[in-house]
Symmetry: D3
Subunit: 128 residues, 6 copies
């Protein structure tokens, strides 16, 4: 795994790193950013998207957004994403009970998804 450190980064990459630090109020840049920095347009676009979708004001609170993110990451089996977003969720208030409930809902949905698919259940008229 090749990490692009700040000192070796181009001005374009540094600008994104600076914005991550300002926005998150931390000096730490986590691995994902330092790895995808090898392709600066991906770094810039992905960071701007994450910043807007996970951080901008909206109807869903910040913790709920993290829970949704984890639900997807567990379903897709992305170990990095589960680890990093579980940390983010804990920083935003997720306790053990909430994590436990989240896991049960994710597991349940993965189960009932397959019951609906395997039995080829058609959507009720009233839900269309």
């Amino acid at each position: 795994m090749k990490l692009i450190e700040y000192d070796d980064a181009s001005p374009e990459v540094r600008e994104v790193y600076d914005d991550i630090r300002r926005t998150r109020n931390t000096d730490y840049i986590n691995h994902l950013w330092k790895v995808i920095a090898v392709h600066p347009p991906t770094l810039k676009r992905t960071w701007e998207e994450v910043k807007a979708i996970m951080g901008a004001p909206g109807s869903l609170d910040s913790l709920t957004r993290e829970l949704i993110y984890i639900a997807v990451s567990v379903t897709n089996n992305c170990e990095y994403c589960i680890g990093s977003h579980s940390a983010a969720a804990r920083a935003k208030g997720m306790d053990e009970a909430m994590f436990g409930e989240l896991m049960e809902i994710v597991a349940l949905a993965n189960k009932t998804n397959r019951l609906a698919i395997g039995y080829r259940v058609e959507l009720d008229e009233r839900y269309k």
Copy 2:
């Protein structure tokens, strides 16, 4: 799709249908239950699990649970589950803006999951 209607159901199946009606305060039994009723142990176990995990008191509110459920169902492409749980979420207060934000987070997580996987990013020591 074969639906087991109340009048044709065994006492065991009727008992579950009655509990669904009581719990949800509605006469309507949606297709999933009427289809899996062909195998009564699945009906009973799944309903009891859904009732406990989606409905019992806990740390996550009822709407948040539905949002998590939808996030999984979209990732797995379960049309039935997206349709029925979007209806449930709307009944619990999800408006267009919330659905729009939910979809953006689900889409974003599916994207960044693959960036982390494709670049084989290792988890930061501090997130372990």
Copy 3:
């Protein structure tokens, strides 16, 4: 959906259709074959693989093979494959109870897979 019918097929495609008919002891060629026949190497290779893996003598009986096939197809949400292999399994002896048990195992595994993934459970030394 473009179906290549026997009368319009090249000799190469006809040879595969003939082998399907002989092997399955039926005149009926199902849609999958008639569609992928547009690319004859896919038709030939896939049929030979299906014939060998699903039909040749081995340690697993013919019905068990179909159950495994359905388990994968439900997990992947392949409607065509669920439909056609459920028919095949029924022809080989799968009754309603077996299908019901199959669906419960598939649903359960999809659930516990996510518990193991979400909780990042490491494999026990003795199972390595």
Copy 4:
């Protein structure tokens, strides 16, 4: 990975551990249970479900159930589940040849699922 050992467990968790030991006729509690014990309702519900679906008498024999379980776990890429259920299947009689055939069917189904999906094959009238 935090493991809840018997000596540190609540009575509620111990009861499940005791039942696992009795049912499986072994002293060993594998990691999955010790990890999800952090959220006792998940432990209890999941164990009861596994016990009933994988262990109770039914139409499918015990080894066939494990094969189906492995098929799903490989498709979902759950390393823990592949490892632990392959061990269980071996204990129930799966030999190398059976594992080899299982893998070929799982691989084949994952392949043909995508042919059916990519070519957008519609289900034959007779399979509906």
Copy 5:
């Protein structure tokens, strides 16, 4: 499915529609855009991303990009995406033989992915 038509669209949405038309040199706005227009930030961000990633100059030619897109969409079973991007690929030069080869590679990779996963093959030192 609710489609936001140009005449009913807000200035913000119209601006994106205008850019789609200019960029693609067509009057036709396909369904995806008209549906996600219900949440304008998703429309704007997604269009700008698609425009840059699928359309801007780069190392991969335009047809190769579409083939990669289809490969992902078939693996994920996204019917809409398979249909719309197959049309796009055909417009950029994909013929029947290329589509046939694409499908075979996608199917093969889905197969061998599961062989590597099921047999738990560790990466060769030289590929790390």
Copy 6:
């Protein structure tokens, strides 16, 4: 992980190893083959399929085939396949910029797949 080395292999397995070496013009046999050699029919069939689909003359060039293969493997999260086929692609000319673009397209498609699925977008008449 049990590797079947050439010296311990049956004549049937050796024949495949010899063909891999001849075809790829290298002495190195990578792990996948040495592992699945435990079940010789899988080894033989899979190698012949890979040889034909990835190596035979056709409409898609050899590098494009590898890019498609990687796109599927990232979507499925197959670490072995990503590692081995990224190496193969590099040997065939993939540079950092191409890999970066490939990852962005794969990530984008995984994102828009879920937008189309979550919003339940129906295919435009003209793409059918």
